[in-house]
């Protein structure tokens, strides 16, 4: 109890820290949706349940992985528009290779590496050829999407036994209608999240990622003697690799590869990251915030479904929430700018004893 009493004010202070304010906003939004859901949709059984979260994560684990990768890129002030197309390409590659009889472990590895390769391409373009991240990743997006059509213009269903086993593997909890489960995608997504958190907050590399977003193009980081150049390449490799993993997860989810999957998925990921409190200008953001952003995104979809509205209302709602969060960031940003001390006029220099 004592520990709790001291912990609460500490947390309170943390939540009001300007660094964490955007994330506090995300948590408030998350709570708000949960409370509203609980009040509106609790009839026979509680809206808030392990089943709700279990379903949320089953449906959104791929998005969580994408958002984690995107967080790295956005913290440096960059953007990666290629991830949706990469997800589609990885799905098709996986399907095609499995149909061709390539062993499952090799297929999975190749799938992830396809993502890493695209990330490397973008990173090298951004760092060594000085291409805008927007343009470099846009080019990669077209390249990946085009390659999808080269692999197949039709949906490729996956009937591989081992793959089906992976897709349906789950740990079950609870009984009857209250039963919920943990599947492989969720475990992978949590593992990615945990590794990303440790990298970002407990390694020199992670802090360099934040330093790159300080808004001076990496000058300060380079003058501090940190590896500015390779770090910038690596964030795109990480984002690409996450896209590769997300591609596998999405394929496990749909059990097929299709060239039109993942159109606009990169924007969902970016939206989740921004809702999660990251600054698009770089320098701020948290993977845990992004995870919360993904939950907000998923919950809005659930709410729309429960309201019996058409699914496109999700987009409208996401637009509104995104706008609100961008404005919140703007407000926090100007407040910070105002707090910055203005250089003062030197007062008349009074003669000192010579």
């Amino acid at each position: 109890m004592n520990a709790l009493l001291t912990a609460v004010p500490q947390w309170g202070a943390r939540l009001r820290d300007p660094r964490y304010l955007p994330v506090t906003g995300t948590l408030v939004a998350l709570l708000l949706i949960l409370v509203v859901g609980q009040l509106r949709y609790t009839e026979k059984r509680s809206f808030l349940s392990m089943k709700l979260f279990s379903n949320l994560l089953v449906d959104n684990s791929y998005l969580l992985v994408l958002a984690v990768g995107m967080t790295f890129v956005i913290i440096t002030g960059g953007i990666d528009l290629s991830v949706g197309a990469v997800v589609a390409l990885v799905g098709l590659t996986t399907a095609k290779l499995l149909i061709a009889g390539v062993p499952l472990w090799a297929v999975l590895a190749i799938g992830v590496l396809v993502g890493s390769a695209f990330g490397t391409l973008i990173g090298v373009m951004v760092q060594y050829f000085d291409v805008q991240p927007f343009i470099a990743s846009l080019a990669a997006m077209f390249l990946a999407r085009g390659l999808c059509n080269v692999v197949s213009v039709e949906s490729l269903g996956i009937k591989h036994e081992g793959f089906a086993e992976l897709a349906s593997w789950k740990l079950k909890f609870g009984e009857g209608r209250e039963s919920w489960s943990i599947n492989l995608s969720m475990l992978v997504a949590f593992a990615v999240l945990a590794v990303a958190f440790v990298i970002l907050h407990h390694t020199r590399f992670g802090r360099t990622v934040y330093g790159l977003g300080a808004g001076d193009g990496g000058t300060a980081v380079a003058l501090m003697g940190l590896r500015a150049k390779s770090t910038r390449v690596w964030v795109y490799v990480i984002s690409g690799t996450c896209a590769g993993i997300a591609g596998i997860l999405f394929t496990l989810y749909t059990k097929s590869g299709f060239n039109l999957t993942g159109i606009g998925m990169e924007l969902d990921a970016i939206a989740a990251v921004v809702i999660g409190g990251a600054l698009l200008t770089g320098g701020g953001g948290f993977v845990l915030g992004s995870a919360a952003g993904v939950l907000v995104y998923g919950l809005l979809q659930v709410v729309i479904a429960r309201e019996g509205l058409q699914s496109w209302w999700t987009k409208v709602l996401i637009g509104v929430v995104l706008l609100a969060f961008v404005l919140l960031q703007r407000a926090l940003g100007t407040r910070r700018a105002r707090r910055r001390p203005v250089p003062v006029t030197p007062t008349p220099q009074v003669a000192a004893p010579a």
């Binding site: 330093g211 501090m224 003697g225 220099q349």
Partner: protein
């Protein structure tokens, strides 16, 4: 050369005969610099004297074309900044080059953070940061975000970071330019502490008072050459300023002639064309009064960075004054570039390339800009009218080549300046503010610009003439406003007995207020 004077102190850095050339310019020519441990050494010189180039050679950013560098008695060659740092030379730059979004501890320690395996040991890292801060006498929460502290504290964090590697030499490049008086005092306390620990400190600043307060010795550069090395206590301010500016106060022949004309002009002073009362803006210029009369040329003198440009920008409205009043021929609207243009005040910027001419446009287009701006975007200046105006000024100012369709970037500096002048004259101004109109142009073109300015004044234009060349200011002006450290330090009425020396004295003099 002065080594023998201090037998007890072996220099930690010796730079001998440093020469470096950039395309077309010899930036440094045979410069020596000696820095001793436990001493604050000031590197002095006006902008463009080669101070930053010399520092960049010492920090390994540039490699000298000729000359030798010895650190602690050993010959070294710095191929990169890492080489220089490895030799024990740390630098704190003018702008705080840290990451404002990271914590104080991270900014001080990143790169030298305490690690356990691949992971940062945050508590140990924060403790180390606290230790380094304590060495500078600072008590900060190492977990706080750098951005939440004042610029002065950020600057001190930069010094703390520089001290983590225990350097032999600490270079402070204009560290005080954005600090107020109390903050400077705090910085100096830290600097003295480090000096007493035996660190050699190279201090660059254009604030004379500060240099005299903190430095033990100084090296003076002018136009890429070494002027001399002196003990601070043995060099008067007057001698320092003369050495920096490069004139020993010789009297110019034609000052008398101009001054005679000035005496004749001392009439009809009822109403000033432009009148500023207590105009000022924190961080750019302290409140000042200035009256400008018809047909008068007022010069503005002061070292670079003394606030000349800032003052001019306030008068024009390029920066909004935050206090005081400005009246132009009775019009008291707050100045803004468009208001100024409409009421006949024009400002020709010191930075010709960035804020003046547009190199990729033709002479005609550059001249047309201001006339067009005065008319608004919708009422295009008729081609015929414009041709006439352009032809008139090309002729009057003798712009060469006399081709209105020549691209301005292909013109010489002097002719670019004339195009700029033509642009403003074409608007029919009443007040002309010229900021360094003769910088970087050859002697002949300079004389021509000066002649034009006097002619314009004779036609009734009021001119505020800003220049680093004191002779030029004295030759042209009836009154000279002298600035020091962003204050009007004095106004000198030009006359036969006013010399460059008079102005230098006012610049160097300590405000005994």
């Amino acid at each position: 050369m002065t080594d023998q004077k201090d037998p007890g102190q072996a220099p930690v850095v010796e730079m001998r005969g440093i020469t470096i050339e950039f395309p077309g310019v010899k930036a440094l020519d045979g410069v020596d610099l000696t820095i001793r441990p436990g001493e604050v050494h000031a590197l002095m010189g006006e902008n463009g004297a080669g101070k930053s180039t010399l520092i960049k050679i010492l920090t390994g950013v540039y490699q000298p074309g000729a000359g030798a560098i010895r650190v602690a008695g050993e010959d070294v060659r710095f191929g990169s900044t890492a080489d220089s740092q490895a030799a024990g030379i740390s630098t704190v730059y003018q702008e705080v080059n840290l990451c404002p979004n990271l914590s104080v501890a991270e900014n001080i320690m990143l790169g030298h953070e305490v690690r356990r395996g691949p992971f940062v040991d945050w508590s140990a890292t924060r403790r180390a940061a606290t230790k380094h801060l304590a060495r500078l006498g600072l008590d900060l929460d190492p977990a706080s975000i750098l951005d939440s502290h004042s610029l002065a504290v950020q600057q001190l964090c930069a010094i703390a970071r520089a001290m983590v590697v225990r350097p032999r030499v600490l270079i402070l490049d204009e560290p005080t330019s954005s600090l107020d008086k109390a903050e400077v005092a705090e910085l100096f306390r830290v600097v003295r502490g480090l000096r007493d620990e035996g660190v050699a400190i190279l201090f660059v600043s254009h604030f004379l008072d500060q240099v005299y307060e903190i430095s033990d010795r100084m090296t003076i550069l002018r136009n890429g050459r070494l002027v001399g090395e002196h003990r601070t206590a043995e060099l008067s301010r007057m001698d320092l300023v003369s050495a920096m500016v490069g004139r020993s106060g010789e009297i110019l022949a034609d000052v008398g002639e101009r001054a005679a004309r000035v005496a004749a002009a001392e009439h009809d002073r009822a109403e000033p064309v432009l009148s500023a009362q207590g105009l000022g803006r924190p961080g750019s210029a302290a409140p000042f009064d200035l009256d400008l009369f018809e047909g008068e040329i007022v010069g503005m003198a002061g070292l670079l960075g003394s606030g000349r440009t800032e003052l001019a920008r306030l008068l024009f409205g390029a920066d909004k004054p935050s206090e005081g009043a400005l009246a132009v021929r009775g019009d008291t609207r707050a100045p803004s570039p468009l208001v100024s243009l409409r009421r006949g005040v024009v400002y020709s910027s010191e930075d010709r390339k960035k804020e003046g001419i547009i190199g990729d446009l033709t002479v005609r287009e550059n001249i047309a800009l201001a006339i067009q701006a005065g008319r608004g975007a919708l009422r295009k200046v008729p081609a015929k009218e414009l041709d006439a105006v352009v032809a008139k000024y090309i002729e009057a100012l003798q712009i060469h080549p006399a081709n209105p369709d020549a691209l301005v970037r292909n013109l010489s500096g002097g002719n670019q300046q004339k195009v700029l002048l033509a642009r403003w004259l074409a608007t029919g101004p009443k007040v002309l503010i010229l900021d360094e109109p003769t910088r970087g142009i050859d002697v002949g073109a300079k004389a021509e610009i000066q002649r034009l300015v006097t002619e314009l004044a004779d036609q009734g234009l009021s001119v505020l003439f800003i220049s680093s060349e004191l002779e030029e200011v004295l030759r042209l002006s009836e009154r000279v406003v002298v600035l020091r450290d962003r204050h009007v330090a004095g106004v000198i009425h030009n006359g036969p007995d006013v010399t460059v020396e008079t102005v230098l004295e006012t610049i160097a003099e300590r405000a005994a207020s």
